[in-house]
Subunit: 335 residues, 3 copies
């Protein structure tokens, strides 16, 4: 929708440099923005683009104001202010509320009139939705789920039975919340399934990426804290507990019963084994294998650097001889 610079400044607690009545209708990069669009700068590398931008307004901090050829919104943290401004500009894309005639709704459901239930969605028995929820095309909400207000479930996600979802949650397409945990007992050579009778509790303001899977607890629950952000294709096993505001990038897997603190970040492709715990403020770099608990906040890594394959082959084979090398050296050279 349309917002004037005055409205944007009020929303962002920003100072306008220029025409407060100028109207902005969208966002674009400094390179591409036209006079009706907002852009932003937070890093020197975009200075050349700033100097020739044709944006209607640029969100920036005081250090860039001298270089800006167009109107500006002056803030302390331009990156954050841009996030807020873009949300503010986009927020009122109205969709008509109500339940599409092709949706299947079970018995004893509570679906406020403010909700949107899109074509081919399935809502099974005994489901309750808060106000202003959206259930996307062809999504499935199994029986007994409780979903908080202002939550949006995109197209083609699955919320398995009895899962509890907070307010202002965003769940992307293909996510499966509350599938069975991977629990079996050995009976001779065979595996006997352990019924997974816990559930998943997703906190308020959580985001769940496309094709991410979060398993229900075996006996207790899998618990995702408030404000946790989870990217695409992340796997969270049964009985994992994740603290508030932790962010987890794509392709990461967390094995069963592990506990992750608050304000942690796990980069992409990380693996955590089961039954370990990470304290608050732990940051794991990409593709790291975490095999034991971490009791001190900080940054942790594993892996080896990439090289030309011909060099790597020579070094990799030496890895298998490392212990022998250390023993040889320790024997011969300490003398």
């Amino acid at each position: 929708m349309e917002r004037s610079l005055a409205e944007l400044a009020l929303y962002l607690n920003a100072e306008v440099q220029g025409d407060k009545k100028r109207v902005i209708t969208g966002c674009a990069t400094l390179d591409n923005a036209d006079v009706n669009q907002l852009s932003f700068i937070y890093d020197n590398k975009y200075l050349p683009a700033l100097r020739i931008t044709k944006a209607g307004v640029v969100i920036l901090s005081s250090s860039f104001i001298g270089e800006c050829p167009v109107d500006a919104l002056l803030v302390e943290n331009p990156y954050l202010a841009y996030a807020k401004a873009a949300g503010f500009l986009l927020e009122s894309q109205e969709e008509s509320v109500g339940i599409h005639p092709s949706a299947n709704i079970g018995k004893n459901c509570s679906i406020p009139a403010s909700c949107i239930v899109k074509a081919n969605a399935v809502i099974a028995d005994n489901v309750s939705l808060g106000e202003n929820c959206t259930i996307g095309y062809s999504s499935v909400i199994e029986s007994g789920c409780r979903i908080g207000a202002d939550t949006v479930i995109m197209s083609r996600a699955t919320i398995c039975h009895d899962v509890i979802i907070g307010k202002r949650v965003l769940i992307h397409s293909g996510a499966v919340i509350g599938g069975d945990g991977f629990g079996f007992a050995k009976d001779g050579e065979c595996w006997v399934k352990i019924p997974q009778i816990g559930t998943v509790i997703l906190g308020d303001n959580t985001d769940i990426g496309a094709n991410t899977t979060i398993d229900r607890g075996a006996l207790g629950d899998t618990v995702i804290g408030n404000g946790v952000k989870i990217d695409n294709q992340v796997q969270i096993a049964h009985n994992v507990v994740i603290g508030d505001n932790t962010a987890i990038a794509a392709c990461t897997g967390i094995a069963g019963s592990s506990l992750i603190g608050k304000n942690c970040t796990l980069a992409g492709g990380v693996g955590l084994v089961g039954h370990i715990s990470l304290v608050d403020g732990v940051h794991i770099t990409a593709m790291t294998m975490v095999t034991s608990s971490i009791n001190k906040s900080g940054v942790y890594s594993s892996g080896t650097p990439f090289q030309k394959n011909s060099d790597w082959l020579k070094n990799a084979v030496r890895f298998k001889q490392l212990n022998k090398l250390f023993k040889t050296i320790n024997k011969k050279q300490i003398k």
Copy 2:
């Protein structure tokens, strides 16, 4: 449903210590169980919880019986007995059989009256289901599939055309069984698709996790043995063959035409390259990269341990100098 201790004891081949007429209706942890619920103990670390449990009955082995303040079911393997007991207690959650009016059923299908086909499911032409199958909400069974008795396909899974599925199989939401294998021939700089004309054969008692993908064979078939358990987000490429009772944890990927023996376990995040074979009884630890065949049963690993990032950076760069180091040392010091 309700089960008396006498019924449970008979089912588990257990000895009752206490009131055989006591009725149990569910399961919970030792901490949370009430007098109507069953719990279990298999490890000393839960002894404090056992001593104050309020469960109706605890499944345990003789070593714990002296510490149990409530009724007990005495067995040799409490973990396995719990798995069986929980399944027994939960087994009769009746759902009404039949085909939901919103389901789309193709021509020439064989769907016994004992089956459940849920809302918005699609069953294409020439599909046959065994007795007592369940096809979940919005799942798609493409043409020509044959599915054995007592198999359950959860919400929103895809079974691609002509796939053959055994009895008592459980397939979770988002799984795709029988997508095309990734096969192309180079034509100059372009890739020409090789039609994937094999299928997937899933054995009896297999479990397939949420968002797992199993590709159909290029010419022959992809074959998953009886009792194989596969976790979430596992990728199994075309023409892979997996032996009976092998278990594969989440986020593992197996490249084309590899053969995995019986009774193997692959932990999470493991990768197998194509065209290799693993004998029976091979166990691979988490995030291991398996680049050649394994001809001897045992436990195998790769990777490096995680460290503080500042330490890791120093060590990781040394990895690239390993071969040089070995050469230097071999030259200078063998003397």
Copy 3:
């Protein structure tokens, strides 16, 4: 469908050795093919099978012709010729065109009469399809998408709003094209979502595997070049750009804003961090972690070789002492 050897030879630019009128109806391996089926050989290891094959015809190069007991199609590149022949034999599996009555079609859509829209598909408002497209069972095409001619979307895929897809594209089940990128700004301890207002542009002749996710751009677009082939469970983050004819195997993850050149191959389980670039003709082996730009074509690798777990444990712990070892040796031995 049926093809004579004469028709196949014309299509493949091959020379027939044998009965030009022989009719072929399908493909099989040398071992399994019968007199109505075509097979092929491209590697000496299949010579024993060739010598006793009962195929109707074998595609081969001149080096194998002396060993072939049945009719042959002589070509330069039998692997490529087989790919083309199999496609030619399978191409005319006619399905009746039209929109299934259970499909949901929005307003202002352009769907040519040559398209197939299968049961329970959802096509939202303002979508345009080219000629001869297929939209599979229960797939969702959100509003504003434009899809080129001859594109096939299999069952249960999601194309998010305003995504642009080329001609002759094949998208497998469970894929999500155009979900939001993972972009947040920190506001104290909380994360504020950055609206993702770019889109995804998929080039002509691209293939996208099952359960693969490709995120829309934050401001600019995510762009996948012509002829790019992407396997299952690949994650491509926002604003990634991939050059023509690059192939990416399963379970690979590419972080945001990375640029990948033309004619690259990424094997399975590879990870690329964000904001790096790879030139044309870069090949990355399985499970490699790519942490910086690659400016020279070639083959690159990382990781450590697998070993027996007992050996690996000893070597892995030494990795953490590598820098210390190098320092000790440098001090003591250069003398």
